[in-house]
Amino acid sequence: MAVPTASAESNLTIRTRKLAQSIGRPLFAVFLAMIAGSIVIMATSPGSLLDRFNQTIAAYQALFTGAFGNAQNFSFTLTTVTPLILASLSVAIAFRAGLFNIGAPGQLAVGAMTAGIIGFEASKWPGWILVPTMILGSMLVGAIWGGIVGLLKAWRGAHEVVTTIMLNWIAFYFTDFLITGPFNAPHQANQTDSLPPQATLPHIADFYNQTLGTFLPRIDQPTQYLVDVGLFFALLALVIYWFITARTTFGYEIRVIGQNPKAAKYAGIPIKWNIFAVMAIAGAFAGLAGALRLMGQFPYQLIGTTFSLDPTGFDAIGVALLGQTTAIGVLFGALLFGGLRQGGTIMQLNANVPGDLVYIIQALVLFSIAAEFLPAIQRVWSKRYTFQRRTAPALASVNATITGISENGTTQHAQRGAESPEILNGDSDSEGASTMAHPSSEGSSSQIEED
């Protein structure tokens, strides 16, 4: 009897809303964290109110310049961003299946270790065989490390948070043992040899000068730009991640598993196999992160106890959450967190503000994402707003057109086709209201939004 109007415009508005939501929330979280951070600086620095204010501005200026201010600093930031992107993808893809992968640090450690071992053992191989072997080897071992978690989860029901944490410590101690034991460099304490030169990745600037630079303008002083070609692998991984999650049946199936395991069973999705596969892929991403950092950056060697102190795998959880597990979100999240880390050092040097501020900001970003401040504020705000606004006249005018149309007999369902901006945007608290109306359904999946 009715003619539903699934029109292109309303698809567009839905997409726009989704986009606005997926960008709006993280941006707002960052904004809030920056404000809170400035309060911390103002509270802790000496002098008059104006002094304190200037100090805050100076600190943020230093932070920004340190992270992104010039090509040199930016390229230094990118060296942190490369492994962070990959580790975040590891966390993000597990999130899609409803799994909380705390295991990125351990997967990263075994990946780096594997690349190192291959590099040392096959040090006579030419680079064009050695480098791919190291990369693939690290991904494979990372996949096994993650896959174990998947196996235990799928077939034994062991909770992934517990098993990943345990496997992290096993990875840390085992790599330490290898670094200080069998692979310890002669006459050196607590570290391995450096990788053979053909096993390392060139810096992008050098790489450019040797390839395109032979006929295009060359980069001056390439050694000051530290970022290596590993970045390209990370960017490629982002594209692959996007493709897997948005364009494949596997991505579809893990999302169903993550959101409604019963529906997955109803659909006949091989839940166990998919859980194993998603954890293996997660491990491969993180393993690659470890290998690329070892191969791409000075000192090109493995040093004991670094893995357990390395924040990358844990920052990755924040990045994945901040980026709402989308590829583009992870990219920006990694840039932000990587930038904060590098900029923090500069800020400490130049503005004399403790670099720890960066940790405070990071924590606040995560906190405000987790607490969903933005939807809450939207809700309150729109309540106020609707009190004064009174949408009734707007509705009435639309109704008038609807009746007009239906009386002509052209369509009975003009109201669903009515693309009036008042109606579509009229209710910014729909999200909040539905949260209240269906607490069971909303709450569980709110962390893992769709892209």
């Binding site: 009897m1 009715a2 003619v3 539903p4 109007t5 699934a6 029109s7 309303s10 698809n11 508005t13 839905i14 997409r15 809303r17 364009r247 494949t248 049946t249 596997f250 991505g251 579809y252 199936e253 999302r255 169903v256 959101q259 409604n260 019963k262 529906a263 069973k265 109803y266 659909a267 006949g268 999705i269 091989p270 309540k383 609707t386 009174r390 949408t391 009734a392 509705l395 009435a396 639309v398 109704n399 109201q415 669903r416 693309e419 109606i423 579509l424 945007n425 009229g426 209710d427 608290d429 729909s430 209201a433 539905s434 209240m436 109306a437 269906h438 069971s440 359904s441 999946s445 769709e450």
Partner: protein
């Protein structure tokens, strides 16, 4: 009823209305759920709120209970203007609501659930178990609602859980009770008991607003009726002066077929063959004790039975969602009235069974039939995502095809939505069901297993779904229908299998009377 909304302000009335909602408007993105809706309910009456799926009933009641803020409009409770900004305000005004989906906490006891948020206790706010138990027992006696305060919710039947919800409201001293589709999940017996309870409450001076899709219940229980259509008032009725056909017409805006029109079946060869299957339930107790039957091409076999006699487990066993301990299930292709290839689907999972030609409408749509956070498009391929028309060699999704497919089904099955990309959650209950029906019917299966296909959907949609099921039959599919509604089973089926305690006790013709079926369903013999 209708005219009463236009008359003079309430202050001048002798006895004010218990509830008066005036000019309520509420728009969701792309949909106007309530469009200048008026609702008036007298004190001490049972008021039925009816309308098609998506007419805005739940939205209106959520507004009254403070869960949703209206865009505009006014609410008066007992003649006083009320500003309801949240359930807290509603509770203070003695309004209570039993939701379409229960809001109980399964591991807690009955008593704990009832007093939650209003626990009796000392100043040090220590939860006083004894006091809670006592007041609940007193309440339960006062209103004739027997319950054991120490039982855990998860152990209770749906009917008893609902009783707990009602007691929870009464514990908070509500005078106005909103019941959103309370009978949707109940067995006929439980419904009967609920009605007795509600009548008792009205005698004690309570006012009840009652949402249902079953017109029989409207006539049986209510005093007055408000009909909503597409978010607007379609009219008010006094129950004594109306009939099913009139209400139906008002709801849908046209004549509705309340009876199923069908021609005699022309059964072909056996398609679905079930041989002596045994299975265990979630608690590892045997629930199916040797079930055998056949469903032929071009016939509808209905399964009648009191809920909990193994029907759910039978469906799960047939659809690859539950392992069976022994027995055999086969599905046979039919071509030009002749049997073709026979496939043993006993040990297949749900995906493989779908490939073999089985379609399944699950009884619990939000639980297993849909991923409510996902878009309609994505839900339209659930279970068939690896089929060649939706993915390249089962790996890469063909988004264009999926979108086209979803649009086609939305149109064909009249799913009311603003967009194919809207999340399934944003649709009303009946339209969510239509997504599943569309998906399963459109896949051109050999056999169709429909479990409670019209639960919670409006009469227009019921008519529509029934017609589609018969269409499937006439197209030569084998249809297995499981329903708690005897009415539905009797009017649709060509044969009725009666299930009792995990066995098929008899297979009878649809001419069997309700009494005869009733006897069989409770373990008797004809």
């Amino acid at each position: 009823m209708q005219e009463s909304t236009i008359v003079a302000p309430t202050e001048e009335r002798e006895t004010p209305f218990a509830v008066e909602m005036r000019d309520i408007c509420k728009a969701w993105p792309g949909v106007i759920a309530n469009d200048h809706v008026n609702l008036t309910v007298r004190k001490g009456e049972i008021h039925a709120l009816v309308g098609e799926n998506g007419a805005g009933k739940t939205t209106l009641m959520n507004i009254l209970y403070g869960l949703i803020r209206p865009d505009s409009g006014e609410i008066f409770i007992n003649g006083q203007q009320a500003h309801i900004t949240g359930p807290r305000d509603a509770i203070r005004l003695k309004i209570g609501m039993v939701h379409q989906h229960f809001m109980l906490i399964p591991p807690l006891t009955v008593a704990e659930n009832i007093v939650l948020g209003h626990e009796p206790g000392s100043a040090a706010s220590i939860y006083d178990v004894k006091k809670a138990r006592a007041s609940i027992l007193a309440l339960s006696k006062q209103y004739g609602l027997p319950i054991k305060p120490d039982d855990r919710i998860e152990k209770l039947s749906v009917g008893l859980q609902q009783r707990v919800e009602i007691l929870k409201i009464l514990y908070r001293a509500a005078d106005i009770l909103i019941m959103d589709e309370p009978t949707g999940v109940l067995t006929p017996q439980e419904t009967f008991e609920l009605f007795a309870v509600l009548r008792g409450l009205v005698e004690k001076g309570k006012t009840i607003i009652f949402i249902t899709h079953k017109l029989r219940e409207v006539l049986e229980l209510s005093d007055t009726i408000t009909v909503l259509r597409r978010g607007k008032n379609a009219g008010g009725l006094v129950t004594k002066q109306t009939n099913q056909a009139e209400i139906a017409r008002m709801m849908v805006g046209r004549e509705v077929l309340l009876r199923v029109n069908k021609t005699p079946a022309h059964p072909g060869p056996v398609v679905l063959h079930i041989e002596d299957i045994y299975a265990r339930d979630d608690r590892d107790l045997e629930v199916l004790h040797g079930v055998s039957f056949d469903v032929r091409a071009g016939e509808i076999l209905g399964i009648a039975g009191v809920e909990g006699n193994g029907q759910s487990e039978l469906v799960e066993a047939l659809t690859g969602m539950r392992k069976i301990t022994s027995g055999k299930i086969t599905i046979t292709q039919v071509k030009d009235g002749q049997s073709g290839r026979v496939q043993d689907i006993t040990v297949m999972n749900a995906r493989e069974e779908r490939l073999a030609g089985l379609a399944h409408i699950p009884e619990d749509r939000r639980g297993s039939g849909l991923v409510i956070a996902d878009s309609i498009e994505e839900n339209m391929i659930l279970g068939r995502q690896r089929w060649p028309q939706f993915s390249l060699v089962g790996i890469v999704l063909l988004l264009r095809n999926i979108e086209a497919w979803a649009r086609k089904l939305i149109k064909e099955f009249d799913v009311r939505t603003s967009s194919a990309e809207a999340p399934a959650r944003s649709l009303s209950g009946g339209n969510q069901q239509k997504i599943i029906i569309a998906r399963e019917f459109a896949a051109n299966p050999l056999a169709l297993i429909a479990s409670q296909p019209t639960r919670g959907v409006d009469i227009g949609a019921i008519e529509f779904i029934h017609r589609r099921i018969i269409e499937q039959r006439d197209a030569g599919k084998a249809v297995l229908l499981i329903s708690a509604e005897l009415e539905e089973i009797r009017s649709l089926s060509d044969r009725i299998a009666v299930m009792y305690e995990g066995k098929i006790v008899d297979i009878v013709s649809p001419e069997a009377t309700e009494e005869q079926l009733g006897i069989l369903m409770t373990g008797g013999h004809l």
